[in-house]
Amino acid sequence: MENSSYSLLSSEADSQRTLYPYVTGTSVIGIKYKDGILMVADMGGSYGSTLRYKSVERMKPVGKHSLIGASGEISDFQEILRYLDELTLNDSMWDDGNSLGPKEVHNYLTRVMYNRRNKFNPLWNSLVLGGVKNGQKYLGTVNMIGVHYEDNHVATGFGNHLARPILRDEWHENLSFEDGVKLLEKCMRVLLYRDRSAVNKLQIAKITDEGVTISQPYSLKTFWNFSAFQNPTVGAEGSW
């Protein structure tokens, strides 16, 4: 399979590994709340600077107890979903009452991502993995270089810079569902204003001991009525 890769940096070998992403998703944000995990992501698939695809589902359920959200290369996310499909299939084929929980899925993904990174052929994604099993909530993240950790709130990409400071101030234990959704929408609104690759069509997903629900796509209300935007050329009449 890799006979021609006598050097991983030669041009022939380059056709065998990922060099840069093509169709990408932007931030995913996840938080723990009273009954489980809430996760949000928009439905955009950017092709470079073009906001090309607007109905990309970037969050999917995994097995009975977990939910995965991905940013980065969409085709690599689809590949990861196939890995997880195989994993959950084999898990349920045991038919023995045991099942993989979110912690196990997160660690499995970490191993996959890190191994690919070591082969200089990464899956170009940042993943958020959340779930509930036997009342225990779990929320973790792993990215293309294999960095992984768990926390009460996690985000990928721009979400780390714009959403997490808001969450550090306003997240608290035992948020109600309504408060959790409001908090996530607040973060997504900031991202919509400030992240070039954000699109105004998002889904919110929740996972509790009862299972996964992913909402229908909807849009956020935005406010542009700032005085600086009225008569924008007032100070520069006659110029370009």
């Binding site: 045991w94 023995d96 196990e104 660690n107």
Partner: protein, 275 residues
């Protein structure tokens, strides 16, 4: 069993539909020194008789820690047992590495059973000559399994294998209904009593037996000689009386079978693989 023309290799069926090589392998288990296991809702105890060949030599190791939550006691060809223990340890640690959580006991025994089955269907292999009592804890509670050279496995509330194991089974058959709710101490004492039954009057001391425990909040470990001797003294001083039964007998586990599934020495007509 008599020597006959269908017992030369494992890939030959007898006209009665038996694989004699597999049955002979199970015979090897019966010749090994006794090993017993019992479980409650929260703990599993494994115990074995360890007789040294001579005063100058050390005892055979028959109980192995497989992981913090699983241990195994063997009877039969101990060399085969060591190899299988190594396989079990390897499987547990590989699972931990990929999933950062403990391999469920039920999955480990199925893997072990499938490994044993392979040896009953290859002309260049022989069946493993060792019976394994696998005791462990996972999300669904405490479990005790018995893995056969035939590739079968069963879950038990209590079981005994090896020579004179029938005596231990008889004792446990009387008491097994109390095991589920038994305390850790009473469970260990029951194990020692059952072990003593296999010695046919010989004195039970901590130098000829090994006892191991695993439980909720307690990693699998072998009890040291002093602790075991103290427990032996405790019930020997109290006389022949078995430890106090705390609760009324409760029958809960639909899955667990009473420790009666092995065959006595006189069973020649029944194919043991029907167990």
């Amino acid at each position: 069993m008599f020597r006959n023309q269908y017992d030369t290799d494992v890939t030959t069926w007898s006209p009665a539909g038996r694989l004699f090589q597999v049955e002979y392998a199970m015979e090897a288990v019966k010749q090994g020194s006794a090993a017993i296991g019992l479980r409650s809702k929260t703990h599993v105890v494994l115990a074995s008789v360890n007789k040294a060949n001579s005063e100058l030599s050390s005892h055979q190791k028959k109980i192995f820690k497989v992981d913090d939550h699983i241990g195994v006691a063997i009877a039969g060809l101990t060399a085969d047992g060591r190899v299988l223990s190594r396989y079990m340890r390897s499987e547990c640690i590989n699972y931990s590495y990929s999933y950062e959580s403990q391999l469920p006991v039920g999955r480990l025994v199925v893997q072990l059973a499938d490994k044993a089955q392979v040896c009953t269907q290859r002309s260049w292999k022989r069946p493993y000559g060792v019976g394994l009592l696998v005791g462990g804890l996972d999300e669904s509670g405490a479990h005790l399994y018995y893995n056969c050279p035939s590739g079968n496995y069963f879950e038990y509330q209590a079981f005994a294998i090896g020579s004179r194991s029938q005596a231990a089974k008889t004792y446990m058959e009387r008491k097994f209904e109390t095991f589920t709710e038994a305390s850790r101490e009473n469970l260990i004492k029951d194990a020692l009593f059952a072990l003593r039954e296999t010695l046919q009057g010989e004195k039970l001391t901590s130098s000829i037996c090994t006892v191991a425990v695993v439980g909720i909040g307690e990693a699998f470990h072998i009890l040291d000689k002093e602790t075991v001797q103290a427990l032996i003294n405790e019930f020997e001083i109290a006389g022949e009386e078995a430890p106090a039964d705390e609760t009324a007998p409760q029958d809960q586990d639909g899955d667990a079978q009473p420790a009666a599934a092995d065959q006595g020495p006189a069973d020649q007509g029944v194919a043991p693989m029907d167990m």
